[in-house]
Symmetry: C2
């Protein structure tokens, strides 16, 4: 009865360099029982997100995961037992359920379960209609504020957030250039996702290509990467250009602080703005984003790119794929099928 | 008749390191004659501004000064001959008149003369009621947007712009900390200009002092300096903190690009904003700033710190004082008294 055992990946140590299996410990325990007001969730899919590297390392916008604690993660699953009137067995939910088979979810806390909208696959609820899509929506539209006809450049463009940002910028009437690693990812951007152009940072001179592709400069640079790519984008910033800081995956595996963007002074001469955001600040407005994203999905203007790895034991390796550039779109880990008799309908 | 000779400092070469006399050439020529629609100005005071180093080096927000061209500079003087109905001999004016004894000023062009308001000394029209004060006003209030009770930190605080910014932040009800070099400048800030505290970056650990003085973080950092001081301020940025990029005097003398601020990612975790501006964008609204600044000057809430060097030949050395930290407040060079019979009244 493997389902009566709760496998958990706990944090074994603060990571050094790229995350790996040695940073986690696999433990087993009993399946927990929900108290009044709680629900018991069988996790089916784990979400892998670059920000998890930060949660492992230090206190930032959330406290660091403690050593020995279950690894913090967004996940999706099915309600198996409910002691809360708002949830029923068989219902699909997402939330901060952690890297474990079974989770106790309590509405009103950090582990609150979020209902998956009717008809939406759990994968989609964890990607473009989940925090990934909401991040792209508010980061691009509220922080970047692109105008029709402007040039938008996205780094990490074949990743979950980047691929959504590029498609949203196209929907808003912008010219969109994606930066990604390798010819296959670049083809994905231009041939499947509608980007106007793609730059392969592994084989091309990013600065030279940006100069050629953005003769009037970059109006919005949506940065998931940091490092030299951010510097190259700052070098081409248009007057009143905006840099949206969403992440810096090239730096997360550094053990010492790396130099910042040497070209930041172009923000001065070109009256630019560089601004960071954290998606949790926008959660009170999540319905606005989810509604818009659902509409564009239905209309076929937006595609959800999902990359599923199979097996609970592969969670650490799946997370590492983000940092070695192996994922294509949203990285998920499938850890189980819905339990018998619980269809997993939203 | 020395007044019938026009001494000019022309640009001899692109500067390397700190600016110096070897970057300029002193030449003499005849006094020019104004054409229709022009006025002839006898320069009395030259303005020294850090941005002039940039104008000497490369095209930025203005084209670089050409080799052999008169050094670009704001200056103040008296109209000696007018062939424009808006100006009369004896009137005080300021404008981009350059490092020379005599200048042709033409309304509607880059050399346009600006009338000095009645009763305002020429020194003041070149400092706190000129571009310096206007820079401080719009940079702090429009870009930084300080709220009463917030903590504002200013680098280069004993300089022309910095000393004005700190006083304006106090007027707006903020707690103000200045960063400057040396105990004398620090005393100037706290004892004469009303700063709440000062940090001597030459003898103190700026990061540690900022941590002690800003327990709730920095809400607005107004940066004139860049480099390590910017990094230290980013390390202490408050949630939704703003970094106003006004200048980076620590970097202007670098011949190669220096690393950028390593802590820029705090803009992300703390939802911060770093934004640059150039005062010329705000010139259409200059009257708003000058009116407000004049009022605070009259009320004694604002003090104008001026540092005058004497003699046309000292212009290059006076400019260099900005980069070696010798100036106290606005650096001006007095090159002449008003010509006989022209009192120099505004």
């Amino acid at each position: 009865m493997p389902d009566r055992i709760n496998r958990q990946w706990t944090l074994a140590r603060r990571p050094q360099g790229v995350v790996g299996a040695e940073d986690f410990r696999l433990v087993e325990g009993p399946v927990p029982a929900p108290a009044d007001g709680e629900v018991l969730v069988r996790n089916l899919l784990l979400s892998c997100d670059p920000t998890q590297r930060g949660w492992m390392a230090a206190d930032t916008y959330l406290p660091a995961v403690r050593i020995g604690e279950v690894m913090r993660s967004i996940a999706g699953g099915v309600v198996v037992e409910s002691r809360h009137p708002g949830f029923r067995p068989g219902q699909l939910v997402t939330g901060m359920f952690g890297w474990q088979d079974w989770a106790i979810a309590r509405p009103g806390t950090a582990s609150a379960p979020g209902p998956v909208p009717p008809g939406v696959p759990l994968e989609t609820a964890l990607s473009i209609m989940g925090l990934t899509g909401i991040t792209a929506y508010f980061g691009l539209l509220e922080v970047g504020r692109p105008q029709p006809g402007e040039t938008v450049v996205v780094s990490g463009a074949a990743g979950a957030t980047g691929s959504a940002v590029g498609q949203l910028a196209r929907i808003k009437g912008c010219r969109v250039i994606g930066i990604a690693g390798g010819p296959e990812k670049c083809r994905l951007l231009t041939e499947e996702l509608g980007f106007d152009a793609a730059i392969d940072y592994r084989s091309e001179d990013v600065a030279a290509r940006l100069a050629a592709l953005c003769p009037k400069g970059i109006d919005v640079f949506f940065d998931n990467v940091g490092g030299e790519i951010l510097d190259a984008a700052l070098a081409r910033l248009a007057m009143r250009g905006r840099v949206v800081l969403c992440g810096a995956i090239s730096r997360y595996s550094d053990d010492r602080p790396a130099p910042g963007p040497s070209n930041y002074l172009n923000l001065l001469t070109r009256r630019g703005r560089m601004e960071g955001f954290i998606v949790i600040d926008y959660l009170p407005r999540a319905a606005e984003a989810v509604g818009a994203l659902a509409g564009w999905l239905r209309e076929g203007k937006l595609k959800d790119r999902i990359d599923v790895q199979e097996g609970f034991e592969r969670a650490p390796a799946a997370l590492a794929r983000l940092f070695t550039g192996q994922n294509r779109g949203k990285q998920l880990v499938k850890i189980a099928d819905p339990p018998p008799g619980l269809g997993g309908r939203s």
